[in-house]
């Protein structure tokens, strides 16, 4: 008996050691980023002795980045794009998903097949013809192009539909008998129930749009249209050895995504479990 409990303690300790090492691996690059962002370029790589917080923290890195490149402009563009895309995505895909999950209508299966057939189609396969088309429509070098590109995904519709199918249809039937219109049912019954799915979709869309690189690289050519990712990449190209500044810019570019993630994460595991993206 004694040896068994000793065994469990040993096992527990091992589990904690592994988890601690993994946690350290995950967090060290971020700590390094924070630490380097308040160092001078010479201090960044000084190993003996290595200090996490320098004696004289260079907070000026955080103010300098806004003047060396039009960082404010980049942040503004990215915030604008991300908010519009996330709202459109949530609204249109939950709307369409409601019809696919809870309504009967003509051509339902064919329409849904249209979505389903593209779900495994990487955007990279059709990004070239899409660009040609958008250029014809006069959307080249316009922020609107990125909105059109990101806002109507099959993934969103698919995910929300999976979730709605888990909500009992009898709820909608009862509301229909009470004379509620479909729009009322959607806003008053479905939306309040779909917090986990909406939060999950928000995280995905927000993170994807905020961090997208290839899309903006193809479409946004002029300096004042650039997003934060393009801007940061450009900065790294121009000032490749200004390590402190690069890290300060990087920290700033991470803050919004981390905040959104922390606010919505409590729904996230539930959302992943109930929307069927776990398969």
């Amino acid at each position: 008996m004694k040896s068994k409990s000793a065994n469990t303690i040993a096992l527990k300790t091992l589990v904690y050691i592994i988890l601690l090492i993994m946690a350290a691996l995950m967090i060290i690059p971020f700590l390094w980023m924070l630490s380097a962002s308040i160092k001078t370029d010479a201090e960044v790589f000084r190993m003996n002795p290595f200090v996490w917080i320098p004696k004289n923290p260079r907070w000026s890195n955080y103010s300098e980045i806004w003047t060396k490149i039009p960082f404010g402009r980049f942040v503004g563009n990215t915030v604008f794009l991300t908010i519009i895309v996330t709202c459109l995505q949530l609204l249109t895909s939950s709307f369409a998903a409601y019809a696919f999950a809870k309504l009967e209508f003509k051509h339902k299966n064919i329409l849904f097949m249209g979505y389903l057939s593209t779900i495994a189609m990487p955007w990279q396969v059709y990004m070239v013809p899409q660009f040609i088309m958008m250029r014809k429509m006069g959307l080249n070098d316009k922020l609107l192009a990125i909105i059109c590109l990101q806002a109507f995904s099959a993934f969103g519709v698919f995910m929300m539909k999976q979730f709605y199918e888990g909500i009992p249809s009898s709820l909608c039937e009862a509301a229909r008998i009470d004379g509620m219109s479909e729009y009322k049912i959607y806003t008053n019954i479905m939306i309040p129930l779909s917090k986990p799915a909406l939060s999950t979709l928000t995280i995905f869309t927000f993170v994807n749009t905020w961090n997208d690189y290839l899309g903006p690289l193809i479409y946004l050519k002029s300096q004042e249209k650039k997003t934060i990712q393009l801007g940061l990449k450009m900065f790294i190209g121009q000032y490749s050895s200004d390590y402190g500044l690069i890290m300060a810019g990087s920290v700033l570019s991470l803050i919004p995504v981390i905040i959104v993630f922390l606010i919505l994460q409590k729904y996230f595991v539930e959302g992943v479990a109930s929307t069927g993206i776990k398969g």
Partner: protein, 350 residues
Amino acid sequence: MEKITAANVESFQNELTSLIEKIHTESNPKQKMKYLKRIDKIQRSISAYRSKSKLSRETKRDLIAYSFIAPNFIGFCVFTLIPIVFAFALAFLSWDGSNPIEWAGLKNFKSLFKDKFFIAALKNTIIYCVGTVPLTMIVSLGLAILLNHKVLGRGLFRTLAFFPYVASLVAITSVWKMLFHPSKGPINNLLFNVFNVQQENLPQWFTGSLVLLSMIMFSVWKYMGYYMVIYLAGLQGVNGELYEAAALDGAGTWAKFKYVTWPQLSSTTFFVIVMLTINCFKVYDIAIMLAAGGNGELTLNSTVLVYYIYQKAFIEWKLGYSSAVAMVLFVLVLGVTLIQFWGQKKYQEG
């Protein structure tokens, strides 16, 4: 035929009942005939009205449903479906985006396989996949199983594991490039000072033959948190009684994993493998940010399919050729999806 509307349908129905009563009491055959004709006429009008209203009710139902779908579907059609069709056509054409389009047939595909940059891109993409997919799967499954126990700080760990996933590539790759800097970075510093690796033998992580390894390591680090959450969701669906039954049979930790956890997670594993493989085939940003030189170009050692699509289309404006490369990417992804589809079906049947 009189026009029947929702407003006067009741008065017609009343007339009908009174006519039926009259017909029973009427003795004059001629008058009776007249009543019958009138009854027939009204009945036909009413049934016509009914079927019409049923039809319009269906149309109304369809219209409501379409109004739900339209905002997304129109955008989806214009910006996704049409370009996809266009992409398939483009692979068989020769076009530079401005001059007239020419028919190329299979020419694009034929020259692909003589193109050493394409072969290198295909090879690197596949090596990257073969390295990243199993490693990420094993690490994320392992973490999920550890985290599924009652451990302190579980929520905190789950949150931390997600940081690499949400962090932007530009920011986090620049940290990696500093950590793995060939002459100044702490990793090589450690190898030099602690493990006594000779200065000239210190690994050049982002050039030459180690590039793909660095990309694989980075991807495992970045994506394990996400797949861990998916596995955690899968583990929540495993019936706890199965473990108790296994414990009664004297199963140890490994046997429990082999006979309970692993089979119960099969559908999650299928999903994880497919998502991972598709994401690996699409790799572009990671290669560009970790491996590109000062000119932003990739070499034979580090080039990947999507980089080649981009290069051919937006730098050289060989749109048909670029689309042919895109078709290869599509076939790879389709293949993986189909294998998953059949595999899962077979597994569930067997």
